[in-house]
Amino acid sequence: MFKTESRKKEGLRIIIVGCGKVGATLTEKLSQEGHDITLLDKNPTKLQMLANAYDVMGIVGNGASYNTQMEAGIEDSDLLIAVTDSDELNLLCCTVAKRVGNCAAIARVRTPDYSAESAYLQEKLGLALIINPELEAAREVARVLCLPTALEVNTFAHGQAELIKFKLPPENILIGQTIANLGKEGISQNILICAVERGGEVTIPDGDFRFAEGDFLSFVAARQDARVFLEKIGFATKQVHDTMIIGGGKAAYYLAKQLLNIGISVKIIETNTARCEELSTLLPKAIIINGDGTDEELLKEEGIEYADSFVPLTGIDEENILLTLYAREVSNAKVITKVNRINFKNVISHLDLGSVVYPRYITAEAIIAYVRAKKASLNSNIETLYHMFDSRIEAIEFLVEEPSEITNVPLMNLELKKNLLICCIYRKGRVIIPSGIDSIMVGDTVVVVTTYSGFDEIQDILL
């Protein structure tokens, strides 16, 4: 018992198989959180690069082989994360790891063939998580397309509560008002503004905060309340009617499928004829165009100027970014950009692209949430975790499973850390935007927004 306690403080022993984009992001994030990380990859150069940049150990070899895993110390590891290119290899890595060591395993599985049965695979193979960055990215894009006013939409409490980020346009009625004032006038009923970015600075605002043009606001609310609020302050809240997707990869397939389900018409432009035929079989309701999505004439012919929304999902970031800039130039469409490699993030954020989706961050967030929950004691559990505003703010959803010093105490009587906000409590199907007299009960899920990073359990909110 003592030994496990001390090890929890030191961080978990984690093996990451595959040093691709997701593997590198995970290495960066998890080593920052203080875990012992061993990387496995066949490519020594990639390993060397990561081992130089972060405090991790690299082992060259096939991650699915028994010997390599033994060398990486699978026997006393806590977690294995398989994020190689190949779904099958990832699943095999996890299967071997489960047999050899007594550890949890996470696999990345991207192909639609398996993703439909991911729940089955997860259960039968005893995996802790199956992650699918393309699917997650598609979900995030779909959420924003349902509420095109927003720049980002993240969900908590199984979609019941939403965390919405938007930019204050000129001449909005909020400009010049304080947060306290909003409450008095009844505009901000049942919503809570939890973070503001102004001029590169991110703050968790208090009642005296005064809005200005160009602020990026994030607020939490129940689904319907969020829409009421946005309408009150003069935003449209209708979902888009149609969307144009460039590139017919896995993410495009997942996105199209979801959009078609909620009645948004979809047009996909893809260069590869064979892939077009495949997509047309898979998505009979979608319009599939066989052509070069970066061809200006083709885009015009297909009506980019009149499109409601535009989502470039090619495999090349530069193309996606250029397409976005072009679309913003010629049309009023809502544009969402997918960026795979995140180098030059600062430059990208200066370009004012609007909504940007980073699939590998989404994956990393899910895994970090899992790792933190695993590290924490048992009386609370991290359900979801989002990094907002370039990882400067974390929004964490805790499930409170057991009574502790924070339960059944009115929030105003808790000594909370500074720069922290309890912005939403989800209790028995109801979303509560808490005030000082509310208290946290066992069985609640609680959303906390904070500038601290590394919260493992709900008690961390206390001073």
């Binding site: 022993r13 990380i37 061993t38 081992a51 130089n52 940049a53 405090d55």
Partner: protein
């Protein structure tokens, strides 16, 4: 280049040295010696300077191989200078260059001395001489890594510059834990040796200093006869422990975690013991006629082989008087050196293995010109980078070696003396042959030669490149004009 992080590291090193300097001060209190006051003084200066240098935290802790190497080389030079101060101030080594030679020799675990009569030194100075061996053996920057939480992962560049061997790996994912493990093993083995020596009836002071000298594979004795005057039991203990400290510490890590088979299966360790056994056998046959008993001949042969292959430099007999074959074997051992990842010096057994395998591969390519063959070590292919680095290391070693011999030759001493003096310093050995033999010392060299030999010592300890990079013009440009460049660039940007 990130100059401020180099400054910060240097400051921390000085603070650590300040604390270390307090130990000889304690010794001086026990023996009521006045020389101890100079240790306190030096410690105070180091601490003050260290605080000044670490006052301002660098904006970024990121450093690359370049910064790591430069910080390491400068740390070692700076430490040697401060370690020399007490010798010089106390007046027991009147010339500063001699004091510097002694401290450099101590920290680099060389054990070459300029003193003709060690026994006249005060206890605290004797203690400090041996203690510097212990500090330098595992490396100060490794110690720094073990205790100072430097953020970011790039600290591996510090360890890479200081740790011996063709490729530096970690034992466990976190560098800090690795550094700690290394020091725990180091500390533990020193204590075990200390206990064994005490059990042999040695005085505490002697046992402590000899243990320090063995652990760091240094070789400063506290008697003029080195280990020669002690009992046969003590000579055996010291010889065995010298050999053990020359083993790759990865092996001890594996043993600690009960992976016996893997530890014993390490090719380098096997070869190391094989070479030792062969050398002992040859020398034993060579000298058995001249010794009074076979057992004594075995003991002397084993002790001398052990001391020279690990580059320690203790001695039990004046091997300068030995027959030529035995002397030649000893010289060859000096070149080979200990295992990578140990505290010993020399070219390192693993490099020798790689070099020999490269030759074998080259020969094979004459027979099958199109054949492709990967060089393997412990069942794993050796990466091209490592091969290249090993070959370049060997060539550079030879060049530095030859030029040093040439530079030292201006003193007009005989070739064997010059050759072995350079050999003994660049391999961190200590004694050579003839005028620098085990019963002689380095006091007779000119100041210029001493500087060359000190350079060789640090170059040998840091495995050449971290020190040599200091002479690259780009580094000088970076070190002195970097701040201005960034500043002017910012101004230009604003305009």
């Amino acid at each position: 280049m990130n100059n401020s992080v180099i400054r910060y590291i240097l400051g921390y090193i000085l603070r650590i040295e300040a604390v270390l300097l307090l130990f000889p001060f304690l010794v001086s209190i026990i023996y009521r010696e006045r020389a101890g006051i100079y240790y306190l003084l030096t410690a105070f200066v180091c601490m003050a300077l260290g605080f000044l240098l670490t006052l301002k935290k660098p904006a970024s802790f990121v450093f690359y191989l370049k910064e790591g190497s430069i910080a390491t080389a400068l740390s070692w030079i700076l430490m040697s200078i401060f370690a020399a101060l007490p010798f010089w101030l106390s007046g027991e080594i009147p010339s500063f260059i001699n004091a510097l030679f002694e401290s450099t020799s101590g920290l680099t675990t060389t054990g070459a001395s300029i003193l003709s009569d060690v026994e006249t030194l005060s206890y605290c100075n004797l203690f400090w001489r041996s203690f510097t061996h212990w500090i330098g053996g595992m490396g100060v920057l490794v110690f720094l890594l073990a205790i100072v939480p430097l953020s970011g992962g790039s600290q591996i560049n510090l360890m890479r510059a200081e740790s011996p061997g063709p490729s530096v790996g970690k034992l466990v994912p976190k560098l800090r834990t690795t550094a700690r493990l290394l020091y725990i093993i180091y500390f533990g083995m020193t204590i075990i040796e200390f206990c064994f020596l005490l059990a042999g009836g040695m005085k505490i002071f002697d046992a402590l200093t000899i243990s320090f000298g063995t652990a760091g594979t240094g070789g400063f004795g506290i008697r003029n006869s080195s280990i020669g005057g002690y009992s046969a039991y003590i000579q055996w203990v010291v010889a065995i422990f010298m050999l053990l400290f020359g083993v790759n510490f990865n092996a001890y890590y594996l043993i600690l975690f009960r992976k016996w088979r893997k530890a014993l299966g390490m090719k380098e360790v096997q070869t190391y013991f094989l070479i030792t056994t062969a050398a002992v056998a040859i020398i034993f046959i060579n000298i058995v006629n001249t010794a009074s008993s076979a057992l004594e001949a075995l003991r002397h042969a084993f002790f001398q082989v052990s001391t020279l292959i690990t580059s320690t430099g203790y001695s039990t007999v004046d091997f300068n008087q030995w027959p030529q074959t035995a002397k030649t074997v000893l010289i060859l051992l000096m070149f080979i050196g200990a295992c990578a990842g140990s505290t010993g010096g020399g070219i390192k057994v693993s490099r020798i293995i790689i070099l020999l395998k490269t030759i074998k591969k080259e020969l094979a390519s004459y027979i099958h010109p199109k054949s492709i063959q990967k060089i393997k070590m412990d069942g794993k292919p050796v990466e091209h980078e490592v091969l290249r680095a090993t070959n370049v290391y060997f060539i550079t070693f030879m060049i530095v070696f030859s030029f040093s011999v040439l530079a030292v030759s201006f003193d007009g001493k005989d070739l064997v003396t010059n050759f072995t003096a350079v050999l003994a310093t660049i391999n961190n050995m200590g004694p050579g042959l003839e005028l620098v033999g085990p019963t002689q010392n380095f006091g007779g060299f000119s100041i210029f030669s001493k500087i060359i030999l000190m350079f060789d010592m640090i170059a040998g300890r840091l495995e050449l490149f971290p020190l040599l990079i200091l002479f690259h013009p780009a580094v000088w440009v970076d070190l002195f004009s970097n701040q201005r460049k960034i500043f002017s660039r910012k101004i230009g940007h604003k305009m």
